[in-house]
């Protein structure tokens, strides 16, 4: 080792870039909750395996939201009714007794295949229509049909207003509601509909806004 190396080691630091803060440091919502492991959860905190199409390489998903599971009850009840329908079909429609047995059997099979189709489509609609909050932006992914999807995103620092709306007995009982987000972008409003713990989501977004402002002041903007 030469003299030059010793001089370099003694030089004072002129500027030390502030370290990027982890979500647990700037958000009480993240600090109070462990990462969610349940793949069917509607309120997923710091998921490890979630990736989405327009995600940047360094971008981290902090919160993934789906509609509260209670919103699935109407179609689940419908499916249960459809499941028991073949058992009472002959009482309701007596003419079915005249149909040959093999046709009755095949009609039952087709009925259950239709029921299965309803279950699959409803589940996929619930599972894949998600709202994502990353360390940089909010993302709304909607699948309207087989061939139509819509992905909207907005940077967190363009959020102007966050409102948590919770009305009605069922929503109060099961603690779910809508988070309305006003933005300064082309799309003026994002609605996270029927998500669990809307107040917690609103609080988290406000914490993210504060952190974005801090990043801007400290020059840590990506």
């Amino acid at each position: 080792m030469g003299q030059g190396d010793t001089i370099l080691n003694k030089m004072p630091d002129i500027f030390v870039a502030p370290k990027e803060r982890s979500p647990k440091e700037y958000s009480s919502v993240m600090a109070e909750r462990k990462p969610t492991r349940n793949p069917l959860a509607a309120f997923v905190v710091r998921p490890k395996k979630i990736k989405f199409e327009i995600q940047d390489r360094e971008e981290k998903v902090l919160l993934l939201l789906r509609r509260h599971w209670i919103t699935n009850v109407p179609w689940i009840l419908g499916v249960l009714l459809m499941s028991v329908a073949p058992a009472v079909a002959e009482e309701v429609v007596p003419v079915l007794a005249l149909v040959p047995l093999r046709f009755q059997l095949m009609m039952t099979v087709m009925w259950y295949l239709l029921t299965l189709a309803v279950v699959i489509e409803k589940f996929l609609e619930w599972y894949f229509n998600v709202y994502i909050i990353t360390d940089e932006r909010i993302v709304d992914i909607d699948f309207y049909s087989l061939i139509y999807k819509e992905i909207s995103d907005m940077k967190i620092d363009r959020i102007q207003d966050v409102t948590a709306i919770q009305g009605g007995v069922i929503r109060a009982l099961f603690n779910f509601g809508t988070v309305n987000i006003q933005t300064a972008g082309e799309r003026r409003e994002f609605d996270f509909e029927d998500v669990p713990r809307p107040q917690v989501v609103a609080k988290f977004l406000n914490e993210m806004l504060l952190e974005e402002e801090r990043e801007r002041i400290e020059g840590r903007v990506r």
Binding site: I50, L64, M107, L116, I120, L124, F128, V130
Partner: protein
């Protein structure tokens, strides 16, 4: 003999249940196409949002297609 008469002779002996059978087969054929579309739908959705349930969903959709094919074959064979 006119063409219409020949057509009538062709359909002679075809009962209602044969027509119902082929209607049901057609319905199941459409359902099979739906099952194929579901597989593609899950693929596209998983590319957009990868959530950790991809393998079970893939298995479920392929099993669904197999079941619908079996139902179609059964309809042709049994009815």
């Amino acid at each position: 003999m006119s063409g219409f008469d020949q057509l009538l002779i062709l359909f002679q002996g075809v009962t209602v249940w044969v027509a119902v059978k082929w209607l049901m087969v057609l319905g199941l054929g459409l359902y099979n196409m739906f099952a194929v579309v579901v597989i593609r739908q899950v693929q596209l959705m998983s590319q957009t949002v990868n959530g950790g349930l991809e393998l079970p969903l893939k298995v479920l959709t392929w099993a669904h297609l197999i079941v619908s094919i079996v139902a179609l074959v059964a309809a042709i064979a049994v009815l």
